[in-house]
Amino acid sequence: MTDSNALDSRPDRNDPHDPGLSETMTERESYLRAGHTLRSWLLTTDHKRIAILYLITVTVFFFIGGAAAVLMRADLVTPQGDLLSNEGYNRAFTLHGVIMVWFFLIPSIPTTFGNFLIPLMIGARDLAFPRLNLLSWYIYMLGGLFTIYVLIAGGVDTGWTFYTPLSSMFANGHVVLVAVAVFIVGFSSIFTGLNFIVTVHKLRAPGMTWGRLRLFIWSHYATSLILVLATPVLSMTLVLMAAERLFGIGVFDPKLGGDPILFQHLFWFYSHPAVYIMVLPAIGVASELVAAAAHKPIFGYWFVAGSSIAIAIISFLVWGHHMFVAGQSMYASAVFSFLSLAVAVPSGIKIYNWTATLYKGHIALDPPFFFAASFIGLFVVGGLTGLVVAMMAVDVHVHDTYFVIAHFHYIMVGGTVSAYFGALHFWWPKMVGRTYFLVWGRLTAIFIFLGFNLTFFPQYILGYLGMPRRYHVYDPAFQVLNVLSSAGASILAIAYVLPFAYLIYSMRYGDPAGPNPWGVTGLEWTVPSPPPKENFAEIPVVTTGPYDYPMELESRDG
């Protein structure tokens, strides 16, 4: 209400070229202004508005999960664990894991940027099932509310992995309620995945062949396959765990004829592919940002696209590497070790192709490129240390230590969160129609990169020296590295909050972005910023491939 009053009082509201305070004509006709009531947002079926709903909610969960991390890092500054009780520490890392995995990382890029961009990139007016899309958000919220309730009611201390027999027989707290929350949010994932798959198959604009799809679409397609194929297994596993905890049904308890490692098989059959649910969309974002920064066609398009599908398939064949020391047979461990190493091939293809794309490019040193470069570097470090832990003998040494924590944070935080912020900085002008201060974007990317490395690199050393994960009272010899890590975390925390200020500021005071502020190719850049409700006045006919940049450099350089 205040906004519309303020707008009415502005003298220049009919001048479309007036930057700053006034609303542009494009904004007035955009999806953002297609209905001003809360109801028009909460009952919307517009994929762009649902993306904004998701953007707000995943950000809230990111900061709740982040708050738990802050508590843990503060507690770990001293070896005695002065801040939290033992129980409190267990609850903090469980909550951090549950919220970050299921309520931030998994939905983050697909439900915000995927939702917003997939129809725009393939030339459609919406996703195939707009109401299912809205339902997925409500289901996500329902799962989220369960989690918030558990948080208020006292938490849970099993770790995000819910391993039996700890979760089924010994853990106190609201194990079943958190399992219910994750069970519920799983349906949200399945609906999103299903929607994306059908949309990509059925709603491509005329001429938008599979070979003309953007790599962002390919990676979201691959992600959706995993979402649909893997998530039901997690749901069933959690039901079995809850059934054993509540009714004593013998599935995982050896006394009742069960096998505790069976839980780990079933859990990781979902949760390892889930790592790729988190990172594949980030890979898609990186492909877009790299091509946009270099103003060049992506090198080896089909290899990058195919490697996304290959990663999706291979991701289902590697789960046993989580169980090298859990009592799994040596033969199974050898098989899973070999298959795990195989994931490096499609991942390596991507890295080399991004590098080759940047080679001789007109690289624009804009914030999105900073985030993309950060993503590539951190993903390489995380990926290579993934090979280290995939080796059976080395894994015996580093299993359940901070080495593993550092490894997967390099992939998930260094990789996915960097890409998430990269996507936010790249498509923000498209989403809100305003540009932000680029220098602040660059600074944020640098702070995130530095803060991240200071936080997590010492953890590789800590882990290699033998500090186990999930302990808050530790040998004083590890204190220096822990203090460094906590110092890094504080830089990281500030860097994550920074964009809030300048991005929100830009919504009101930024210059109008125009349809294509970065001067890049792609259907989403042909429509106004922010896009109108129906996306395209006329459904476009696609006649060229993706990343259709002129190849002037090659001809000039011979």
């Binding site: 289902f316 064949l317 169980m323 047979s329 040596m330 033969y331 199974a332 899973f336």
Partner: protein
């Protein structure tokens, strides 16, 4: 009329397979009993997919999706068996 006839025939086939399951459990013992039961169960599932879930009327892509679901279940079972089938012989936790 012919659609009903098809469904009744499919149902009759399922009933026959049910009797086969029960019969096999009396006649066979040991690993063959499990193999036979699983084979019959597979045949039953195929009938349900093909007739009751209308896969025979669908295009190739939808059939591929259904086969994909089965293939992924097979991945789960087969790779888990690399552990369970070899655990007693090659080391690992046994009950």
């Amino acid at each position: 009329m012919s659609a009903t006839r098809t469904l009744v025939l499919a149902w009759s086939a399922l009933m026959c397979l049910l009797f086969a399951t029960v019969g096999a459990s009396f006649v066979l013992t040991g690993p063959w009993s499990i193999v036979t039961s699983l084979a019959i169960a597979l045949a039953k599932a195929a009938l349900i997919f093909w007739f009751f879930m209308h896969l025979r009327e669908e295009a190739g892509l939808v059939r591929l999706v259904a086969i994909g679901a089965g293939a992924w279940l097979l991945i789960l079972i087969l790779l888990s068996m690399t552990d369970y089938a070899t655990r007693p012989a090659l080391g690992g936790m046994t009950n």
